[in-house]
Symmetry: C2
Subunit: 414 residues, 2 copies
């Protein structure tokens, strides 16, 4: 059975909003064993939306639409889909009451545009929107199902989780698929590919895809089967084959981030971390504190964008800054040491470098970073040069610092 997502909104076409909704839906559906085949993105234009609906109806069994349900004039999805299914708009008193109560609760005066959100197509099933004002809609045509949702991510997500995915699972017939991601680091994509040997042998059990990003290369295995168990068995066979050749490069066996892998290692050993960030400017701390429960392992950090802050808050000696410069192996080490002591942590990492776009010199170019590490016994730092833009460099610097920590944690475990 086929699934299509139709993402609606001019903002998606002109890049003002990145289409994260389609990705989220694809991921959730795959987790439920169902694969999306197409994502069609169209603007808020009547004819384009009708064409997209016709195409989707011709090839998909489930059509998931998001966007264009808001209270303003540029939102035309409800009008288009009602016309498409020859439905009349009627007032839904239950929806109206919910919208009115929501405004009352927030103490905001309700305007007429909001009342119109309670007008719904007479032949649609209504999905109550607990987090906003626009209700979701379901249309059925033969065996085909059309789900219409707001584009606001958390409103759409609640509808998907509570109503739409269960509704789809009731109706879904076909091969189930499961996937697993093996996260690798320290080996280029093409070398990884060749090291894995006979791809046809692995693909008898699962499709293999290579996904390079700033943190390394992820290997995604997707296996199909008549039911979950069958798919799962195929996946296990494929994983065994992959691991037989490249085990040592695999850094996590699910689609997690490096900071999550590290947080698990630290939590498992009841150890804590502090960070001193210069050029990464808070990114590493932000990444660790995105993890729920990270307060158990993360003590805090100092973001020191000036030499004064490096001295005052981290105790980096003035002479060291003068002699070696703030972007140096010595200062990276001293920053890590300082952070470890100030926060009373077991481990600390640090970054000092030049993220760009300006500030580089022939000796110390944009993209240069020293990452530091300190524990009770030793303080070390390593040098890397990357070639990204400012944000890309910040991301690469963060990864380099985290990878130094990961390597050290692994060596301590041995």
């Amino acid at each position: 059975m086929n699934i299509e997502i139709i993402s609606i909104g001019d903002e998606l076409l002109i890049g003002q909003t990145i289409n994260t909704n389609a990705g989220w839906m694809g991921e959730q559906l795959l987790n439920a064993g169902m694969r999306v085949q197409w994502v069609s993105t169209v603007g808020d234009e009547y004819d384009h939306l009708v064409d997209a609906l016709k195409l989707a109806e011709s090839r998909a069994d489930f059509v998931l639409m998001t966007g264009g349900l808001g209270p303003t004039h540029d939102d035309i999805t409800k009008k288009v889909i009602s016309d498409y299914f020859k439905a009349k708009l009627i007032l839904d008193r239950r929806v109206l009451k919910m919208v009115q109560e929501r405004f009352k609760k927030r103490g905001i005066v309700m305007v007429k545009a909001n009342e119109e959100q309670a007008m719904v197509p007479d032949i649609a099933e209504i999905i109550i929107n607990k987090l906003g004002t626009a209700p979701g809609l379901i249309f059925r045509k033969g065996n085909k199902n059309f789900y219409v949702m707001p584009g606001v991510p958390f409103e759409m997500q609640a509808m998907m989780t509570e109503k739409i995915i269960p509704d789809m699972l009731d109706r879904y017939r076909g091969a189930f698929s499961v996937r697993k991601t093996l996260a690798t680091t320290g080996i280029p994509e093409s070398t990884l590919f060749e090291t894995m040997g006979d791809m046809a042998k692995i693909e008898r059990f699962a499709r293999v895809a290579f996904l390079p990003d700033l943190a390394g290369v992820k290997i995604r295995l997707t296996a199909a089967g008549q039911d979950h168990d069958h798919a799962r068995r195929n996946l296990e066979e494929a994983e065994k084959l992959v691991r037989s050749t490249i085990e040592k490069f695999i850094f996590a066996d699910d689609d997690i981030k490096l900071e999550e892998a590290i947080a698990r290692m630290l939590a498992g050993n009841r150890k804590t971390l502090a960070i001193a960030e210069s050029c990464t400017g808070g990114l590493i701390s932000h990444q660790f504190t995105n993890i729920p429960g990270s307060s158990l392992i993360f003590m805090g950090s100092v973001v020191c964008y000036s030499n004064a802050a490096k001295m005052t808050l981290l105790g980096v000696p003035r002479e060291m800054l003068v002699q070696f410069g703030s972007v140096s192996e010595q200062v990276a080490g001293a920053m890590a040491e300082g952070a470890r002591k100030r926060f009373g942590a077991d481990y600390a990492i640090s970054t000092t470098g030049i993220a760009g776009p300006s500030g580089g010199t022939p000796d110390k170019p944009v993209g240069l970073v020293y990452v530091g590490y300190a524990d009770e016994q030793e303080t070390v730092a390593s040098r890397h040069v990357f070639f990204q833009d400012r944000l890309g460099n910040k991301a690469r610097f963060s990864q380099a610092a985290m990878n130094l920590l990961r390597t050290k944690l692994l060596s301590r475990e041995e």
Copy 2:
């Protein structure tokens, strides 16, 4: 004239990679006066890709394809498009030489998979890839133009900027469009819409779209014209009408972020900022340090995830923490004061709250935050409650702290 983007890759359909490429391309093309009409996302499947090509050829004048040009077996785009245009693959010695030199420079052994990247369709124009190994391709069919690029963002971006957008501009005939975004804050979308009055009057000059997000509601105006000047005049008329009703809610007149607006205000007055972050965990610092040149206005921050760090690094009194708790108006104020002093900054802001998912109590629920502000003359803090998930709360908390600073900076200017 019509433009279509075809984004290729299973990872986009299952949400493992978010399709940022399509958004970036749409934005760059609009900046050059050209509007994307459709984005079609398909997996690495031969038939789906052929169908997408057929559909795009039937409706678009320019077709921009990304993804599936890599060195591994799951990359099938070059094969599909060569078959589609009945082209033969031949060795391009110039490309081969560049690939070889790239590997030599990096000191990595070149494997056979990389050599195949130098095989190109005989009828295609080649776009040299300065940042990677897979060349870009251009096919012409009548007046229709097909551009094939790698999916790696920075490789695609270089090809778009240096070759493809200029090539398209040479061939583009049709209405030019320009846009402007007015960023508002402090007013809900529906109220904003009603306050603006007769929409038809504004839309005689420009299309109006409302884009709500965590930072407020953006109003996007898109005007068309026979040439850039004509479109620009229409845009100005529309902006005048919009400003006549909602001027006081407009917070920036281009599509910039709150931190960028603040950084401009600070830089204009040669003032500096320090930050004390508890629940936002480094996010505010990360946001400010994403701005090139932010070292001129940003002194640094302390991320204090423990009470100990709040005392040691920011000088928050122990008694205050005991009496009011770490999530309190008093502590928010003391954190801002401490950060201002430690970093020697003109202004400081702070956050202390509960990002969730756990850690809430009936008195202090998940989503509660106190944001603090300190300057030479005063220290203040304000209380907010939001209802997002952990990452959403971090973003909302950051915005609240920044908005407190913005309001204070504005009042000082008056």
